[in-house]
Subunit: 150 residues, 2 copies
Amino acid sequence: MPNLPKKFNDCLREKGLRLTTQRAVIARLALSRASHFTADDLLLWAREKDKGISRATVYRTLSLLTDLELLEGLDFGDGRLCYEPAEGRNHHDHLVCRQCGSITEFHCEAIEELQCEVADKLDFKVEHHSLKIYGICKDCSRRTEDDERR
Amino acid sequence: MPNLPKKFNDCLREKGLRLTTQRAVIARLALSRASHFTADDLLLWAREKDKGISRATVYRTLSLLTDLELLEGLDFGDGRLCYEPAEGRNHHDHLVCRQCGSITEFHCEAIEELQCEVADKLDFKVEHHSLKIYGICKDCSRRTEDDERR
DNA sequence: GTGATTGCAAAAAGTTTGCAAACTC
DNA sequence: GAGTTTGCAAACTTTTTGCAATCAC
């Protein structure tokens, strides 16, 4: 089990907040994920470690971690928020498959640069951005071709 | 008051659907907007024309218009969907001001092309995409500078 | 007249909040 | 001990749905 990032501890102390066992469990799980997850996922994982953890505490901790910029919120438009660790990862965008719901990350430096250029031209100060490409993923289109061949 | 697009009428007939007064009121209002709006905005406008229109009918008509691709749904991540007319407009992306909430449209052909290239490389069939740049708009940063000058 | 559509109210689904009890520092 | 945090349940927000009454064709 990875340690809690020093920053989490520091931020808590700095703001006079307390490191409770629930916060530790939830933060450790959330910050060690390799990819995005929902509040509900996190609640289930947390309850494996500690039966009593409540949904409210998960939501409160998620919002704390997002405020500290240790997590990033992602909205894939399915009516609930996803989260992923923000530290130690490069920015990336997402391909969302409309058929199987899978989400693939990608990164394109040229797109990032163009975005900044465009925003600059409009005197808009960029803080962050979100690019999602919706369509059909490799596996699903292969599956569809197979079906049609029959 | 603009006429209903012929396509709306045709699609209704084709699918055996009926042109009710409520649908006409709602569709006319929705399709004549220059920019994005919420279901609740539309309900208020519709009720100015016809007191009795229900929220459910607004939602049902929005979903009908979206299916017919006369409206496009936009998710700015504030927990509710926005819509804007999809016909007769070019695709565009959005700058979202974190301070005043204003939304500015822009279009960059080079970014569009790069998106297709990236997706192609990953064997992903693009259907549509959504690019949102979050930050501070021209007016808000000017306002902040003025405040600091005092 | 027949079957689509409406309005209403209730249901969903995800998230937030008030409060008393429990816990951290 | 003081003050934060928790769990619970209820509240909230946006959107969807079941159903009987109504309306378009």
